[in-house]
């Protein structure tokens, strides 16, 4: 049985082992003991509410309870862009029109922006390859929305998630090749490495400061703006189910989309509900999977269980209680794992 829970200091070794599997492309999970150690420290202080809300970094691990092993990780960073500038391109529109010539050109433009400064970021999601099955990925990704639903006051700005951008089969980014390359004179991987070292803002200093017309870019580069990497498409769908959406902000390197939502727009704010946990002798048959979360910030926990809240009560097995670290009579927050199907 799997549980997603607030990270603890003793999870560092497990996290490090997991980070070894990540490979390149994920900038916030490099297998480096020192930087990961710092991150865990900040995360623990965040859940303990020992540091200011804007500095918090809520890191969650997914644990295989039977083995006591860390098999997944995800995080919510409280606010981006407060230490160093956070850059995106915003897709804007400029209309060029001449009545005299009867020409009306609606042009997409890329504006370098810091608009998303201060937003909370969903990031650092990684699931051990052996566990990529069933509803595990959903549980890991969506557990964060349960946290936000429980503590909405901590997320006053928008919530965002940067999605990995489109790459060709050979791993090259058409957007980078047509744009960034001309301004950095370095390969994408090198730029990406610098980004992971926290030097993204330095790189942005080299980016065009003036708005760019999308029409200047080759067709291939135009087409990938706002498109995700093939491997990232499922992750995007999950976030979209939860109310996140693309509003025209993209990564300055690979033009991957930024998904965003105001907290009030999240499904978890509307559809999750508090209930009293009851002890059930066995798992309910025929129930849909439900995300069940505890209501404490310290040792926040989420599981997926076949259960359904009725009249403010939720029946859970003893094993579920154990995973959640709660007892009958405790308050829990519950939400169906999958959104209701909307039929036309």
């Amino acid at each position: 049985m799997l549980v997603v829970r607030a990270i603890r200091e003793q999870d560092l070794d497990g996290l490090l082992a997991l980070a070894e599997l990540v490979g390149s492309g994920m900038t916030t999970l490099k297998p480096d003991r020192k930087s990961l150690g710092q991150r865990v420290e900040i995360a623990c202080a965040s859940f303990a509410e020992q540091i200011a809300p804007a500095q918090r970094d809520y890191v969650f691990v997914m644990e295989d309870a039977a083995l006591g092993k860390v098999v997944g990780v995800c995080a919510i960073k409280s606010a981006v862009g407060l230490d160093e500038p956070f850059y995106n391109y915003r897709i804007g529109t400029l209309v060029h029109s001449s009545k005299e010539l009867k020409v009306f050109s609606r042009m997409d433009t890329l504006y370098l922006s810091n608009d998303l400064t201060g937003c909370a970021e969903l990031c650092s999601l990684f699931l051990h390859p052996d566990y990529r099955q069933g509803i595990n990925g959903k549980l890991l990704s969506k557990s964060r929305f349960m946290f936000v639903a429980q503590f909405p006051h901590l997320f006053s700005e928008k919530l965002i998630a940067e999605m990995r951008g489109y790459q060709r089969a050979d791993g090259r980014s058409p957007f980078w090749d047509s744009l960034g390359r001309h301004f950095f004179k370095m390969e994408f991987d090198r730029a990406d490495d610098l980004t992971s070292l926290g030097k993204k803002s330095f790189i942005a200093e080299l980016m065009p400061r003036h708005p760019l017309y999308v029409a200047y870019l080759p067709q291939e580069a135009q087409e990938v703006i706002g498109r995700v990497h093939v491997d990232t498409a499922p992750a995007r769908r999950l976030l979209e189910q939860e109310g996140m959406h693309y509003e025209g902000y993209v990564d300055i390197f690979d033009a991957g989309p930024v998904l965003q939502a105001r907290v009030a727009e999240l499904r978890s704010l509307r559809e999750s509900e508090l209930a009293i946990a009851d002890l059930a002798a066995e798992e309910a048959a025929g129930e849909q999977s439900t995300l069940v979360a505890t209501t404490r910030m310290q040792d926040f926990r989420v599981i997926a269980a076949p259960a359904h809240a009725r009249r403010g009560r939720l029946a859970l097995t003893a094993q579920h209680h154990e995973l959640l670290g709660c007892r009958a009579g405790d308050a829990v927050r519950a939400m169906p794992l999958n959104p209701k199907k909307h039929h036309a």
Binding site: L101, H182, F183, K185, F202, E205, L206, H210, Y213, L217
Partner: protein
């Protein structure tokens, strides 16, 4: 066709009687040259405007436009045209792309490099603009080509208050056999949504129309983002423009700062102090022809604002004297007599 090398040519202001000849010229002009009036109506307008401009007494350069013709003094045929406008943006703002260098620096990464960008600008609005240069027989042209082109600047030297201190001339950029411009394809087409020649036709070759600011990009265009073909076309002159480009370069014009917003052709520009017709010309008094002394091939222009005329002449103009000895033919062509004042500059 007779060889024109020895013919006497004179540059003079256009007259109403020239209209039929100009109309005939316009029918043979190649598509790339866009500043020459084409239709009867536009030719008539240009001629009327020129006559009014020469007749005007402007305090400051305004919307005057002076249209000159190259006349074969032998058969009185029109061999070419050239014009100069007092200000380029007289009826609006004159737009050009300025070649800018944007310096991008990241101190922390210790990287610094320059990015070439084109910025839509109106810098040239107040400049005087040379335009409509056309030679009927471009390939066989002799010194009369330089005479025709530079006579405009000699007139500006004679009547400096009618012109700006700065001058420019826009050269046609490169196009292929179908009249397709690689620079236009990469830029203008995106905004105008039409072919290059169609756009030129609609805008009548002008660069001072409001619709330009309505349609063209206001933000710098980063050159590295343009296709290679378009980049290669920037600042390159159409083969039709090689002769005037050479003449004006020799005169002292510089091509590097601006390019045309449509076809990327070079825009030659200069302050008058850099131009030979200003800095190397001298005002001299005409004396009767003399023999024996060494003759220099010069451009000689009348020093009067009205009935302006200019010729190429082999004349005697000693450095330490302020007179010039002209032969009878030159004096007749210039319509001057001994004692009159002229402007001379070596060819």
């Amino acid at each position: 066709m007779t060889h024109t090398g020895n013919a006497m040519f004179v540059v003079r202001p256009v007259e109403t009687a020239d209209i039929p000849a100009l109309e005939a010229l316009a029918t043979v002009v190649t598509p790339g040259v866009h500043t020459l009036p084409r239709s009867r109506a536009t030719i008539e307008r240009a001629v009327e405007r020129s006559i009014a401009s020469f007749g005007a007494q402007p305090d400051i350069p305004s919307d005057e436009s002076y249209f000159l013709v190259l006349e074969n003094a032998g058969d009185r045929s029109i061999a070419g045209t050239a014009a100069i406008a007092a200000t380029a943006g007289s009826s609006g703002t004159f737009f050009a792309f300025r070649n800018d260098v944007l310096n991008q620096v990241s101190r922390d990464l210790n990287i610094s490099h320059n990015v070439h960008a084109l910025t839509l600008c109106s810098d040239l609005t107040g400049y005087s603009q040379l335009s409509s240069f056309y030679m009927r027989d471009r390939r066989g042209a002799g010194p009369e080509a330089a005479l025709l082109s530079r006579a405009r600047l000699l007139y500006a030297a004679v009547a400096p208050h009618r012109f700006s201190e700065k001058f420019f001339a826009s050269m046609s950029g490169i196009t292929d056999d179908e009249g397709c411009s690689p620079f236009w394809e990469a830029l203008g087409r995106k905004f105008f949504q039409m072919d290059f020649l169609e756009a030129e036709r609609m805008i009548e070759g002008a660069r001072n129309r409001t619709l330009i600011v309505e349609l063209m990009p206001h933000y710098p265009v980063y050159v590295p983002l343009l296709p290679g073909e378009a980049q290669a076309a920037m600042g390159q002159v159409h083969e039709e423009g090689e002769l005037p480009f050479q003449i004006l370069s020799d005169e002292g014009f510089e091509p590097d700062e601006y390019i045309d917003i449509f076809d990327g052709g070079p825009i030659l520009q200069a302050h008058r102090n850099a131009l030979r017709s200003f800095s190397h010309s001298s005002r001299r008094t005409v004396s009767g022809d003399a023999c024996g002394d060494e003759r220099t091939r010069c451009l000689v222009a009348t020093a009067r604002e009205n009935a302006f005329r200019a010729v190429v002449a082999d004349c005697i103009c000693p450095e330490l004297s302020d007179s010039v000895a002209l032969d009878g033919a030159a004096m007749r062509a210039l319509d001057v007599v001994a004692g009159d004042s002229v402007l001379c500059v070596t060819l």
